[in-house]
Amino acid sequence: MKRQRPSLSIATTAFQVLARTQAAALGQPGLPVAIIPHPLGPRSRAELRDMVAEHLPALVALVSEDKAIKP
């Protein structure tokens, strides 16, 4: 269902195939999927914060591109 909002998914490399296959299965093959390194589990909170800081500009860019699902 389209809710008129830009959307994207974030998945780690281990779940990349799942994310892309499921997006297609749900009728959204163009859903932007941001892929970040796996695993997240062993990382400390500080490391996770660093990852967010590192990847945030790319995530913002991804929903800003034409391929993002937008109104």
């Binding site: 195939v17 799942l18 296959t21 499921q22 299965a25 749900l26 009728g27 959204q28 589990g41």
Partner: protein, 353 residues
């Protein structure tokens, strides 16, 4: 329109050489099987299978996560043939397919998780005898046609229609043998208590299928004849610190061997007493979990339990009623603990023609 709403694709007929080995090679190459040889679903075999139901072949029974393929009666029949079923098994598979798609089971989570969770089928009512299903010795093991092919067919439906291919959308870290087949009947004749489908509100003369998001089986050997001591050690076996159920408040099952059930009954305990005692006595100190999983549990169960400290006693499930009990197996001092994915609840459906 998304995939959950699109019409079911019509059946596709492919022509291959009439050679069982060539057909199985094709199934392996296209990943349409489970690794074991399959029975080719020829048009004639599928038509014979469809004689087992009064439903129309194009009726959509459910959409199967995570691919949300449409499980038509026809496609269920195709997978039933692949697994080695015959027409009398089809109504069970139709009910089981509807059951796995019900929201409380959380099939999306079960199919796509790294956990080994999969669907365990439990059959109750007169159909278990009609289909000669095994509820006794080795009921979760090999050797019984009905148990083997029903569980196998449901798993092929989950993989082929739900598109949960291992390594792709099925992300199980190791998986478990139950992902090939996992099915038994309750041993109603040997149980001192009403069967589970009667607990769920069905009549004894009705037949049902119950699906459970099971992570595996843990054998519980105990020669104790004192009912309270037997409860104590079973509860202690439920409480292990790496359990998914304690993380989010699950719905695990205890499959009591008839000898253990009889010890409880002889002590005057009914099923509800056993359920309540197992639930109470299996509460586990939150600090037994790893530091990280303790933190995850604090987040996951805050709404249910409030502020969780290291000494908080975590119940395995939010309420005693979420802890399932059935009686199955043959002679011997064994019972089975069946942990679950955690974020899942069993579903029971009536089996209809």
């Amino acid at each position: 329109m998304n995939a959950r709403q699109t019409p079911a694709a019509p059946p596709v007929l492919i022509e291959v050489d009439d050679d069982i080995e060539a057909i199985n090679r094709l199934y392996r190459e296209r990943r349409w099987g489970d690794g074991l040889p399959v029975i080719p679903p020829t048009r004639e075999r599928v038509e014979r299978m469809l004689s087992g139901t009064q439903r129309a072949p194009d009726e959509v029974i459910a959409r199967i996560a995570p691919g949300f393929g449409a499980a038509t009666v026809h496609l269920i029949a195709v997978n039933a043939v692949l697994a080695g079923c015959e027409a009398q098994h089809l109504p069970v598979l139709i009910a089981a397919t509807a059951a796995i798609a019900e929201q409380p089971l959380n099939l999306q989570g079960i199919q796509a998780t790294t956990n080994p969770a999969t669907a365990l089928l439990i059959i109750n009512g007169p159909i278990a005898a009609t289909l000669e299903l095994n509820s006794g010795l080795n009921c979760l093991g090999q050797g019984n046609w009905g148990n083997a092919v029903l569980g196998r067919a449901l798993h092929l439906i989950m993989q082929n229609i739900g598109r949960a291919l291992p390594g792709e959308m099925d992300r199980a870290t190791q998986g478990q043998p139950g992902k090939f087949t996992f099915c038994c009947a309750e041993n109603e004749a040997a149980s001192p208590w009403p069967p589970l489908h009667v607990d769920k509100g069905f009549r004894p003369d009705q037949s049902t299928v119950t699906v459970v998001g099971a992570s595996g089986t843990l054998n519980m050997l105990c020669h104790e004849k004192d009912a309270n001591d037997l409860l104590r050690v079973m509860a202690d076996s439920i409480a292990y610190p790496t359990s998914n159920d304690y993380w989010c408040g699950g719905a695990p099952w205890v499959m009591l061997g008839p000898e253990h059930a009889e010890i409880f009954a002889q002590a005057g305990m009914d099923k509800e007493h056993v359920r309540l005692q197992l639930w109470e006595q299996s509460k586990m100190k939150a600090s037994r979990r790893s530091i990280k999983d303790y933190a995850r549990t604090r987040d996951a169960r805050a709404a249910e339990l409030g502020d969780i400290g290291p000494d908080t006693l975590l119940p395995v499930s939010p309420t005693p009623a979420d802890l399932g009990i059935l009686v199955a197996g043959g002679p011997g001092t064994h019972s089975v603990y069946i942990p679950t994915f955690g974020n899942t609840r069993s579903v029971t459906r009536l089996i209809e023609p």
